[in-house]
Symmetry: C2
Amino acid sequence: MNMCLDCIPCFVRQAVDAVRLSGAPEEEQNRLMQRILQWLADIDLRLPPPAASQRIHRRLRALLPTDDPYFASKKHHNDLAARLVPSIRRRIAASHDPLAMAVRYAITGNIIDLGAKNNVGFGEIYSELQSAPMQPVFGDLNVFKEKLLRAQTILYLADNAGEIFFDRLLIEQLVHAKVTLAVRGAPVLNDATRSDARQARIDEIAQIIDNGSDAPGTLLDDCTEDFRRRFDEADLIIAKGQGNYESLSEAHREVFFLFRTKCPVISRHSGFSMGTYVAANRQSEPHTPGGGA
Amino acid sequence: MNMCLDCIPCFVRQAVDAVRLSGAPEEEQNRLMQRILQWLADIDLRLPPPAASQRIHRRLRALLPTDDPYFASKKHHNDLAARLVPSIRRRIAASHDPLAMAVRYAITGNIIDLGAKNNVGFGEIYSELQSAPMQPVFGDLNVFKEKLLRAQTILYLADNAGEIFFDRLLIEQLVHAKVTLAVRGAPVLNDATRSDARQARIDEIAQIIDNGSDAPGTLLDDCTEDFRRRFDEADLIIAKGQGNYESLSEAHREVFFLFRTKCPVISRHSGFSMGTYVAANRQSEPHTPGGGA
């Protein structure tokens, strides 16, 4: 999908966050923001949002005193998630449909998204996890479950740090398949990289690869040849989060998107209301909740 | 108060709204946004937010096909409020402390603020009005009520269209005093002008003046000499909304601010939590709810 005017305030907010998190002195922060606004004035509004965001954050990192301003946030969310997952794992095991329940919790984890808002605290994550079992999943949960169970090879595109611990819980349900987890090729926003996947110990149950790109999404042309081959060959692609949806909503093959709608632009484009749990491919009807547990 | 980096995404969102509401063709909207981003890159970050906003919207209006992009929104909110106030007036009259209750509803009306967010619908206003009687008012409601009852001349600085109908309900309680209602000198955002004050029929119970300025706040240096004289001479100043707080928080005389905290910058500066009902002067302790009904 292409960006629209509503994406611009969000890019500006992301830039303010990154500049703040970098620890640069205040005067320098102001100068940096002025430069970012100048760049934004020249940006091509026909790009998908992750391509615009990639350019902004790549340039920012070149100027900031750190090339990973979200490092501490990512560690914080990984630590938080690590404390929460053992009890969630038990809840999934006790459910009458563990696979559907694991899908729900994987979607819940998608609220840990510092691209969509600038702070996600323990209270918010905890209360979301309490409501997760009752959340209707919109899209095609039953079709998704069938495809999950039939697939022999699954390529799972991760989204954010912290969230990736909840992705692990879903991958734990997929013992019948060979799962490959793909993370970003370099730090951007709070998106998960290899280090986050290892912190979630996903290497014990799946192969971890990176896509070679520093976009907060999956821009296929910007990914490695190896990644693109796996993308073409996997029986099933699971794409987590809004950034992957923004970059793959018109992909040349079927992709199953799992995300929480957190911005009105995605909500309008996908047809799913704000705040909805979504498990859908391009054929899914947005207006009816899917079946499943 | 001065603006901070967090104000910039909000200015950009306001500009997107104004450009959209103007009805300019899409290609033209994109070009306009690019120009706005260029201006913003040059803006002086030491300005108070309403001064920055004033400059942006003044330049915008010069380029847009309309000099009042919020005209239809203001009419919509005035019509909505006109339908709601008769029942609110009865609730105030039936309260055991009508003055405190009228203050609460005047603060509730402050959610109709298209500077702070881009859409405020009937459902949101209606549900806020239901909860208004139970809302604790933070600051110094008792001190404010005493000052209201003692004042012989009151200058009431209005904020937004729609909201101004709820201001009328508070002014109706002030029959003992000579009340002057001041509106903006020209359209900016959805801020109330003379036409909105007349739609709320405030001319029947108070004198209406304008401050001569097109800032979404009260920048004294930018107001008429007549306004400044009244500002100095009134026994009591009531300043509605965040824009008036932003521009008068360091004023040379006492001002009583009535607003709902709707943005983290105001919340940090004033010390009142997000979403709080506030009736406070500069001496008020932010962390305890005031007394009153």
